[in-house]
Assembly symmetry: C2
Amino acid sequence: MKDLMQEEKKGFVRKTRQRELILKTLRSTNSHPTADWIYERVKKEMPNISLGTVYRNLGTLREMGEIMELNYGSKFSRFDGNPENHYHFVCTKCGKVMDVEGCSVDREVDEMVARENNVEVFFHRMEFYGLCSDCKEK
Amino acid sequence: MKDLMQEEKKGFVRKTRQRELILKTLRSTNSHPTADWIYERVKKEMPNISLGTVYRNLGTLREMGEIMELNYGSKFSRFDGNPENHYHFVCTKCGKVMDVEGCSVDREVDEMVARENNVEVFFHRMEFYGLCSDCKEK
DNA sequence: ATGAAAAAGATAATGATTACTATTTTAAAT
DNA sequence: ATTTAAAATAGTAATCATTATCTTTTTCAT
């Protein structure tokens, strides 16, 4: 019987070795890597994996809420294995992306924005731009 | 004499009809348009303008601090004719980008982040994600 | 007005991401 | 354990926003 299950998003997500390796790899770094970086890394352990598979699974993992996709500067996406919402710092010189410490997410800001702009707010993001510790030395 | 002027960025920026029209067009809307939207709009007044010229000038205007380039969702850039730093709301359903009212930029947050993370902060950005007034009706 | 530098216009190239397709794998039902 | 249909993979081609290239035109200081 075509029942309730059919109401789900798009069928059903199966567990695969590829996706598990991709997630493990992304979770093992805090460098906010690109899809290509992950591909190169994962290929060492699973040489036949396809770049398309990496992209497809990063998309799936994002939809599952397991990871975040970041778009600073438009050229290409970066991925963050930490799905909890947190802020980022982007170095305008070397392009490095880091997690920001010591800045708490203020949930009531969302409510204020929702009220003032007649919208519904799910979450917000915040990025700080400047020179990272390495680049500001020079 | 090759003098101080040579120290400048990249020579010297000349005034062109094309760039002025592009800036005027961008300043005349608050819809945060894409490069292609601007191109189509500008073409009505200057039919021979090239898409490359639009991109080149949007880049120049950004470097001049006259406009902002926004990258939410990675697919393509949007441009904002308001160069003063302000926050944005992105509708996760229809993709519309709006300015956020009633949320003041807290400059001391930058200082805190700089202190806690040993970086230099020039500015920050903030984006709220959710449903716009149109989309939340349905 | 003149000339060198800068920008435009037209078009090709780039490159990250997505789409396509035949084959393989997963996992539920037998 | 075997079967089977759906889902995912590998490999490759296609997409498309953005850049680069190159020749001609325009700008602007002299």
